[in-house]
């Protein structure tokens, strides 16, 4: 069983839902990103999404846009992040190797500029399990299908509140897990999550066993618990990135505490 399936299965057995954390790679610097991942795994994160900073993150709200700017100002590249994952997998800078699945959340252009074949090959070699590409919808997934299959990298699909009859089509071909976008708009914290996510997940479950994780807008333990109650896991991004934005290199401890609180709410 691959690491992604494992993460959801392990959560299921203990009746815990998976906690998925997003952080922007290289924000505020690579060393801190590395420390954050180690600390968050200890605090109970089941799966990581590492953002590759991009100049034009059109699917992201202000908090993640600013994280992207900070990482780019430090000169963070896809190679830096691939090397970082390799270190985390080999346990070079920690007492213990990171065993949780690691995915890259990246805009299509970062993969294309790198060369999609070379990118996926390096993902495999460094220990990256999947890619989430917000600007490659179902209609364009052929772009990555061959290379993802060749190197065993899961191309994780997204469904949105607007997907409607597209939901089943997407779910049938989904790999790894299905990223269920809770609300309209871009990434960011919402006070209230008005959503038909439960309806979406029911449609998915009618056609597929793929684990469903809910993302966009979630920041409080209550929201996490609510969203987890109808799904297999929750994705938290902006709320963590905001703490990193505030504390910078000192963010490891506050992030660990925050993540532990969310994990608690899911137990």
């Amino acid at each position: 069983m691959n690491r992604i399936a494992n993460a959801f299965a392990a959560s299921g057995e203990t009746e815990n839902k998976a906690l998925i954390a997003f952080i922007m790679g290289g924000d505020p610097d690579i060393e801190t990103t590395e420390k954050l991942i180690i600390a968050m795994e200890q605090a109970g994160v089941d799966l990581f999404e590492i953002g590759i900073p991009f100049s034009d993150p059109a699917a992201d709200g202000l908090v993640i846009q600013q994280a992207s700017v900070r990482a780019l100002e430090k000169g963070c590249t896809a190679d830096d992040l691939l090397n970082m994952v390799q270190r985390l997998r080999s346990g070079e800078n920690a007492a213990k190797k990171i065993t949780a699945p690691i995915t890259f959340l990246t805009y299509a252009n970062s993969i294309f500029a790198y060369g999609k074949e070379r990118f996926m090959e390096r993902c495999r070699d460094c220990g990256v399990d999947g890619v989430i590409v917000p600007d490659i919808p179902y209609e364009e997934k052929e772009e990555l299908a061959d290379v993802c299959e060749k190197y065993g990298i899961a191309h994780i699909s997204m469904v949105a509140p607007t997907s409607k009859e597209r939901t089943e089509t997407i779910a049938r071909e989904a790999e790894g897990f299905l990223y269920c976008v809770s609300t309209l708009g871009v990434t960011g914290i919402r006070e209230k999550i008005r959503t038909n996510v439960q309806e979406t997940i029911e449609k998915v479950r009618a056609v597929s066993d793929i684990p469903c994780a809910v993302g966009f807008g979630i920041s409080t333990p209550e929201q996490a618990r609510d969203m987890a109650s109808v799904s297999d896991g929750v994705i938290i991004g902006t709320a963590i990135v905001k703490i990193i934005g505030e504390y910078g290199r000192e963010s490891v401890e506050p992030v660990r505490q925050y993540v532990a609180r969310i994990k608690d709410a899911l137990s």
Partner: protein, 393 residues
């Protein structure tokens, strides 16, 4: 509709907006062949935007350059002062038919924003325009013009604060409010069906050129020259001539301070294939795919990409794309003003500059048509600044 031009084009957008693109594609396919829609649009173009625009024989310029005959396609004389109104009237009418009550738009120089605000006022639609903060400063007059027309202008402070960032912000806004809102994309860029639809609403330029030049000269021109940012006026002028292989199609892109200088926006000269703003095309970018902070004196050409159909025309060598610098464009701006009494938009001045370069070496029997895509009133202040002239407003 496949939405691809060779490998270019496509629909590289978030899943959230896919259903709206599908809805738009269906509506467009339907109204494209709907007699009522077509006659309403024709009426708007003729009676509101004052089409057809003239094809003017620039006799003094022709004599002065001493070679090919030069005709100017006067898109500058359209209502709102540029070709942008052709596309905007089409899309706003379509939005209304689709039951949308609100339109949003990005703008660079402000011409598309003004055209969108105008059409929205006419058709009773709410209008919000996203414009890079830097552009709101260099085109302050157009900001006020949009406000006069009842639109709300949002200065965009992310990224390089120019056109590409305005597109990002409009895409974000659209993703958050799809039900009642149509995004009027201003150039032949973006995800399918926008590049096809914008081209179809602009191809009237080339169709008119063909009829007008045949009437005046009894034959097709030897070259059509247009400026290219995203490329809507160029694709509009070129499209009807793509099958006429004796007609050279020449796009002029903004070379800023020079194609070898870091400050330029010459996508065809310096770009590589990439994905941005929903499309695969050429983009100015670094080896990791970070989009380059491009530059041009012209806000309308200050864009790091180009429409996918142009990328295809470049690869297939059906069209040729040449760089024109700020300095050359400003010279052409002054030249056309003094020679013909026509102040061109600084964008269009890039096309004039190239005509000046090649006309002299062509025979007297040759014919060049330059698409004068917009008028230069909006640029007077920035040209004065460029030339070091103080103006007290």
């Amino acid at each position: 509709m496949k939405g691809k031009f060779g490998q270019y084009g496509g629909q590289y957008v978030a899943e959230t907006v896919m259903s709206s693109l599908k809805e738009l594609e269906r509506a467009y396919q339907f109204y494209l062949n709907d007699a009522v829609f077509k006659s309403e649009l024709k009426d708007l173009l003729n009676n509101y935007a004052s089409r057809p625009s003239g094809l003017y024989y620039a006799e003094k310029m022709t004599r002065d350059l001493g070679g090919a005959k030069i005709y100017l396609k006067r898109e500058d004389l359209n209502h709102t002062g540029s070709h942008k109104i052709n596309n905007v009237l089409g899309q706003a009418l379509l939005a209304k038919k689709m039951g949308k009550t609100r339109v949003i738009a990005e703008t660079g120089a402000g011409q598309h924003g003004v055209a969108s605000a105008t059409a929205a006022a006419l058709m009773g639609l709410k209008c919000e325009v996203f414009m890079g903060k830097e552009d709101t400063e260099r085109q302050a007059l157009n900001v006020f013009r949009m406000e006069l027309l009842g639109a709300k202008v949002h200065p965009v402070t992310s990224g390089t604060m120019t056109l590409k960032d305005a597109v990002n912000e409009t895409l974000r806004e659209w993703a958050s409010r799809l039900d009642d809102t149509h995004y009027i994309v201003g150039s032949a860029v973006g995800p399918h069906p926008f590049p096809v639809m914008v081209r179809d609403f602009q191809k009237i330029i080339g169709e008119e050129i063909k009829a007008q030049v045949l009437e005046a000269e009894g034959r097709l021109p030897d070259a059509i020259i247009a400026c290219v940012g995203g490329g809507s006026n160029a694709i509009g002028a070129f499209h009807d001539f793509i099958g006429d292989t004796t007609v050279k199609l020449i796009g002029c892109e903004a070379a800023g301070l020079g194609i070898d200088h870091p400050k330029n926006a010459a996508t065809m000269a310096n770009g590589t294939v990439g994905i941005l703003h929903g499309m695969k095309s050429y983009f100015c970018q670094d080896v990791y795919g970070q989009i380059a902070p491009v530059y041009s004196i012209s806000a309308g050409l200050d864009y790091p990409g180009v429409g996918p159909e142009h990328a295809y025309l470049q690869d297939t060598h059906r069209a040729e794309y040449v760089p024109v610098t700020d300095a050359e464009a400003v010279d052409a701006f002054n030249y056309l003003s003094r020679t013909e009494g026509i102040i061109p938009a600084i964008e269009s001045a890039h096309a004039i500059a190239h005509a000046c370069k090649i006309a002299g070496s062509m025979g007297h029997e040759k014919i060049i048509v330059v698409n004068l895509s917009g008028r230069g009133d909006k640029d007077v202040a920035s040209i004065a600044k460029y030339m070091g002239v103080q103006i007290n407003e």
